[in-house]
Amino acid sequence: MPWRRACLEAAALVLAGGALGLAANLVRSDPLPWRAAAAYETLVPCPEPIGEATPLDPHDPALNDPRTVLVSALNAAESRSLPLVPRLIIPYDYLQEVAAADVRQVAAARAARVVVVGDGQRPDSGEQLARELAWRGIRNVFFVHGGAPALAAAHGGRP
């Protein structure tokens, strides 16, 4: 078949298929209107931390190492009840990226390792913050496995 004729027939196929689609839509029990009445709400995913962070047992002696920076992903009041005093408090918000100033603060600590403690829930805010810090370029980032409840069980809660 010559190419010119094939192209014309291809255009006819498109028209035929389109007409078939319109006809099939008319006989549906729930036809789709030809024109959308309102704009579609396309999904915008939340910022997703994709870095790698290692879980750390709450009994791990590295938690008491002076070269470790303990970061709390909890709010200030919750952080005060942690059995170990966090050097930094960066309350984690699932809907917002960690502020650049907070990341700079962690980087400025020049710690051998950064250990994040969160709420220990599923998902764990500590793990999320740790992964986001790793994603933003912080190295040797860990998170306390089980979060604040596990840390309290291992070290005893603070009054």
Binding site: M1, A12, L13, V14, G21, A36
Partner: protein, 159 residues
């Protein structure tokens, strides 16, 4: 290059490629015909078409795929059908590349709707579509309607 194009095996190689593309396009159309509203959302997520064309595309495109796929499978009007498939692949490729360049985290919408985890777009998807585009071009150029309904018609079906 001319020797490669003159290889006599091309006509036979085109047969499995034609059948594969036929099944592929029929399969791809199934979920779109079954749930055109979900497919319309997929189309809208690419953020390429104006709102006025989103539903019309969702209604007609799957049936164009069905017509082209069925003709390829049957071996009728192969060259026009292969041209339609190649043109559709080119359009899909353009949409994919634009979505990837803009960093959209979304489902391809090729074989299922909405679950970005099940069929997420990636450069691998682009590569896959490029292979299918090459197959369609090969069929358009080299298919001689072997093992096809058109071949049976030409020979005359025995009584």
């Amino acid at each position: 290059m001319r020797a490669l194009g003159g290889w006599r095996g091309h006509a036979w190689l085109a047969v499995p490629l034609r059948l594969y593309l036929g099944v592929l396009f029929l399969y791809a159309a199934v979920h779109k015909v079954a749930d055109p509203a979900a497919f319309a959302l997929d189309v809208a997520t690419y953020e390429i078409l104006p709102l006025g064309l989103v539903n019309l595309t969702a209604i007609t495109l799957p049936w164009i795929e069905i017509v082209a796929g069925a003709l390829l499978l049957a071996g009728l009007r192969v060259r026009p059908a292969a041209i339609v498939v190649a043109a559709l692949m080119a359009v899909f490729l353009l949409a994919l590349v634009l979505a990837l360049v803009r960093g959209l985290d979304m489902s391809c919408g090729c074989f299922a709707s909405q679950a970005a985890e099940s069929d997420p777009i990636s450069w691998r998807t682009v590569l896959r579509d490029l292979v299918w585009l090459a197959m369609a071009v090969h069929v358009a150029v080299f298919d001689r309607a072997r093992l096809s309904v058109a071949h049976l018609i030409r020979k005359g079906v025995p009584p």
